[in-house]
Amino acid sequence: SEAKSGRTDLIFLIRFRHCCLLRNQRCLLAYLYDRLLRIRALRWEYGSVLPNAIQFHMSAEEVEWFNQYKKSLATYMRSVGGEEGLDLTQDIKPPKSLYIEVRCLKDYGEFEIDDGTTILLKKNSQHFLPRWKCEQLIRQGVLEHILS
């Protein structure tokens, strides 16, 4: 009957529109989620302070998310490993020695090491430095880890 076929048409149209809406939502969520995973990886690969060039491309919500993530991670790291906590973002690759050879990839300026002395990090200079001090600068592309 006509009434029934009209209703079937309507069902079809409603379902069709709903499918399209859900699909658009899925695509958007997939995109946003992928961005979030990359932002999270930045905390581990790069450090707790993001370069301006990257922050410029993040939405306010993403920046807020990053800050919250940072905070959660810091709280957790403080809670493990006894009195001082444990920096899990260090020594991601298994360390073979306390000191490592590094080459400077760009002019960075003065850099203070634990015993109070300062070193001038000038492009192409090479240094023999404590691993824990260099790790972040290597990840940020300022220094290069040279294997002997």
Binding site: S5, T8, D9, I11, F12, L13, R15, F16, H18, C19, C20, L22, R23, A41, L42, E45, Y46, V49, L50, P51, N52, A53, I54, I92, K93, P94, P95, K96, I100, L105, K106, R131, C134, E135, I138, R139, Q140, G141, E144, H145, L147
Partner: protein, 158 residues
Amino acid sequence: SFMQGSKLEIPLWLAKGLHDSKRRIISVELPKIYKEAWRTVFSADASVVDLHKMGPYYYGFGSQLLNFDNLENPEIAQTILQTFISRFRRIMDSSQNAYNEDTSVLVARMDELERNLFRAGQKGLNDFQYWEKGQASQITASSVVQNYGKRKFTDMDG
């Protein structure tokens, strides 16, 4: 508005959304590689088939097709599974033995699932070589820095 009985090509996600066993809004026709003729070819010797040409997501798409209550579903499912089983060994072996060689010929006939498996195998092999050379302990720059290069980051602070 659509006439009853008309035939269309629509994307999978739309077909899934419109499909309803009870209401029978649409019926889905199987793409030819999942039909009987091709299924016989696959069961004869699956390892020679160019799965990339056959629609690059043979396994994934085939699995999704099972959503449409087709009468041939058990046979389709069986064929997809057997195809994977007969091809897998060769993919695994070749991914472990092609260090630093040109693998494009091998990979050209694989569907996307197989390519991912192959790449995972190769990555394992490469990581092992890396470790053997003593490079596993080398600290590297973050991928963000590597990708953006020195050009964009010269004015970064902090």
